[in-house]
Amino acid sequence: MNGRIALRHVSKVYGADPRTALLLLAQGADKQRVQAETGQHVGLYDVSLSIPAGGIYAIMGLSGSGKSTLVRHINRLVEPSAGQVLIDGEDVLGFGAARLRELRRRRISMVFQHFGLLPHRSVLDNVAFGRRVRGESRRQAQEAARGWLARVGLSGHEHDYPDQLSGGMRQRVGLARALASDTDILLMDEPFSALDPLLRDDLQTQLLALQAELGKTIVFITHDVEEAFRLGQRIALLRDGRLVQEGEPEAVRQAPVDDYVARFLARVNGGSVPRSTGSARG
C-alpha cells in the first residue's frame, strides 16, 4: 500500500551518535534505557506508515511519544537517523536544495505546536509570509492573508505584532499562515490546542469543508480524542517513538491492539477513563 505520503522504517535519535542508540534499539532496548545508557533521546523508532491522498490523517499519542518528530520528517525539517520518507512515491531525502524548496513552497505547509511566528513582522506579514516566499507580490499575498485572518477571527489585528496577542490568537496566526499558503498537503501540529470550544468547533468545520472541497491531504496531530474521531479518516497512535496502531477510527475503536490504546480511546468509547494508578509516564 503506497499512499500520498509514506514513511518506511523511519528512526530518529537526537544526539551526537545515533548509531549506537539504533543498535541498542534493535536489540530491543526501549527509549528510557537508550537515554539512560547513551544520554541520547529517541524521537522515533522504526515507524512505517502510509498516508492516503485526500483525507485527514490524525496522529495521537502520549506526550513525548514522537508525534512532532514524525510530522517534521515529512517536510524534512528533521533528517531521519534511518529510513525513508516518500511523497508521491519520491524519496524526499534524495531531494536537492532546489527541489526541497519547491516542495515546501508549493506542496506542504505546516502549523507549528509552538507557533513559530516571526516576532519582527506584523500579523498580516506573518500570514502573507508563505506566499511572499514563493514570489507573489506584496498586494496579492496580503489580500490572501486578510481573507484567512478573517476566517480565523482575527480581522482588526492585521497590524498587531505577535507579542501583543493572546496565546490562542497567536495559534490562529500560525494556522492562517499555513492555510494561506494554499498547499495540498497540510501538516498540523496540535493546531487547535489553545482555542476555546466555539472557535475550535468552527475551525474544525471549516477544515472539513476545505478538505472536502479541495481534496487536501492533512496530517493532524491532536490530543483531543473526540477531535481525532471527528476529523480523522484514519488514526495513528504512537507510544515511546513506536507506532502502536493505525487504521480507520471505527476499526481502531473496535479492536484496540492493547490496553494502552483502549485506555487512550476510552473517552470516545463512552466509558469513563479508567484511573491509572500511581504516577503518569511520559
Partner: protein, 288 residues
C-alpha cells in the same frame, strides 16, 4: 635565558618587506593614486567646496530622516556648526571624507564576512584568529610597511582604519545571527525560503540589534583611528590633535579631539537612526 631557544624573525621580515617594496612598490603606488583620484578626492572636493550652510542643511535633513525627531536633528546640526566655530570646518570636511569612505568600506566588507562566518564553522575557525591579529597587531606595525608600499597619505590611512574598525562588526554580526531563535528559523524554512530569503527576511532582522551595536563600534573605531591616519599624512582633525600634542598645547589638541567626538556622535546617531526601524505603535522594531 637559556631556557628559551632563540629564534629571531626580525631579519627575515625586514628582508621580505624590502623585496616587496622593490618588486611591487611602484605598482601599489599607482593603485594608491588611482583610488585617490577616483574615489576619495572627488568626495573630498565636493565636501570642501560646498558652502557650509549647505552641508549643515544636509546634515539636518539626513539626521531628521534617520531619527525622525527634529530636536535630535537640530542638536546634531548645532554640533557640526560648533566645530565650524572652532575654526576647524575645513579639517572637519577632510576628516569626514576619510571616515565616510572607511566606514562604508568596513560595513560593506564586515557585514558579509560576519554573515559568512555565522554560517560556516570552518570559516569561523579561520577568520576569528585573523580578526584577533587585525585588532591587536599595533597599527603602527603595519602602517609603516603600508606607507612603504602605498606611499604617504589617505589610502593607507583608510586601509589601516578599515582593518581595525571592521573587527567588531564582523564579530557582532556573527554573534547576533547565531542567537536567532532556531524555532523561528525552522518555521521560516518550512515555507521553502532560499538561504537568501531566510537571511534577509528572518535572520538579519532578528540579529539587527547586535549588528547595529557592531556598526556603532565600527564608527567609534574609525574615528579613533583619525589621529593615527594623520600620522601617515592624512590631513584633517587628526593633524590638529597631533600638532596640539606635540607642542604641548593641550587646549588645541582637546578642542580638535572634541570635534572628532562630535563628528563621531553625528555619524553614529545618523547610522543608528537609519538602522533602527520603528513599529507603528512607537515601540522600536528591527528592520533589515
Amino acid at each position: 635565558m637559556a631556557f628559551f631557544a632563540t629564534f629571531d624573525l626580525r631579519e627575515p621580515i625586514n628582508r621580505a618587506v624590502e623585496t616587496l617594496v622593490e618588486r611591487h612598490g611602484d605598482r601599489l603606488h599607482a593603485l594608491n593614486d588611482l583610488l585617490l583620484q577616483g574615489l576619495l578626492l572627488p568626495l573630498e572636493r565636493v565636501l570642501r567646496q560646498a558652502p557650509p550652510w549647505l552641508v549643515l542643511l544636509a546634515v539636518l535633513l539626513l539626521a531628521w530622516r534617520a531619527t525622525g525627531r527634529w530636536r535630535v536633528a537640530a542638536t546634531l546640526t548645532v554640533a557640526c556648526y560648533l566645530i565650524g566655530c572652532f575654526g576647524l570646518w575645513d579639517a572637519l570636511m577632510q576628516t569626514l571624507a576619510l571616515v565616510l569612505v572607511a566606514t562604508a568600506l568596513a560595513v560593506l566588507l564586515g557585514l558579509p564576512l560576519g554573515i559568512a562566518i555565522a554560517h560556516s564553522r570552518r570559516l569561523r575557525a579561520v577568520v576569528l584568529p585573523v580578526l584577533d591579529v587585525m585588532q591587536t597587531l599595533p597599527t603602527f606595525v603595519y602602517l609603516i610597511p603600508a606607507v612603504m608600499l602605498f606611499g604617504l597619505g589617505k589610502v593607507p590611512a583608510i586601509l589601516a582604519t578599515v582593518v581595525y574598525a571592521i573587527c567588531p562588526l564582523v564579530r557582532l554580526t556573527d554573534l547576533g545571527l547565531r542567537q536567532v531563535d532556531p524555532e523561528v528559523q525552522e518555521a521560516a524554512r518550512s515555507f521553502g525560503t532560499t538561504r537568501w530569503q531566510l537571511l534577509l527576511g528572518v535572520q538579519l532582522p532578528l540579529a539587527w540589534p547586535s549588528i547595529l551595536a557592531g556598526v556603532n563600534q565600527t564608527v567609534m573605531m574609525a574615528l579613533a583611528m583619525v589621529v593615527v591616519a594623520s600620522m601617515i599624512g592624512a590631513r584633517g582633525l587628526g593633524e590638529e590633535v597631533l600638532a596640539g600634542i606635540q607642542t604641548l598645547d593641550v587646549g588645541r589638541g582637546l578642542q580638535a579631539g572634541l570635534a572628532i567626538v562630535l563628528l563621531a556622535v553625528v555619524i553614529d546617531r545618523v547610522t543608528q537612526g537609519f538602522g533602527r526601524g520603528r513599529r507603528p505603535d512607537g515601540e522600536p522594531g528591527a528592520r533589515p
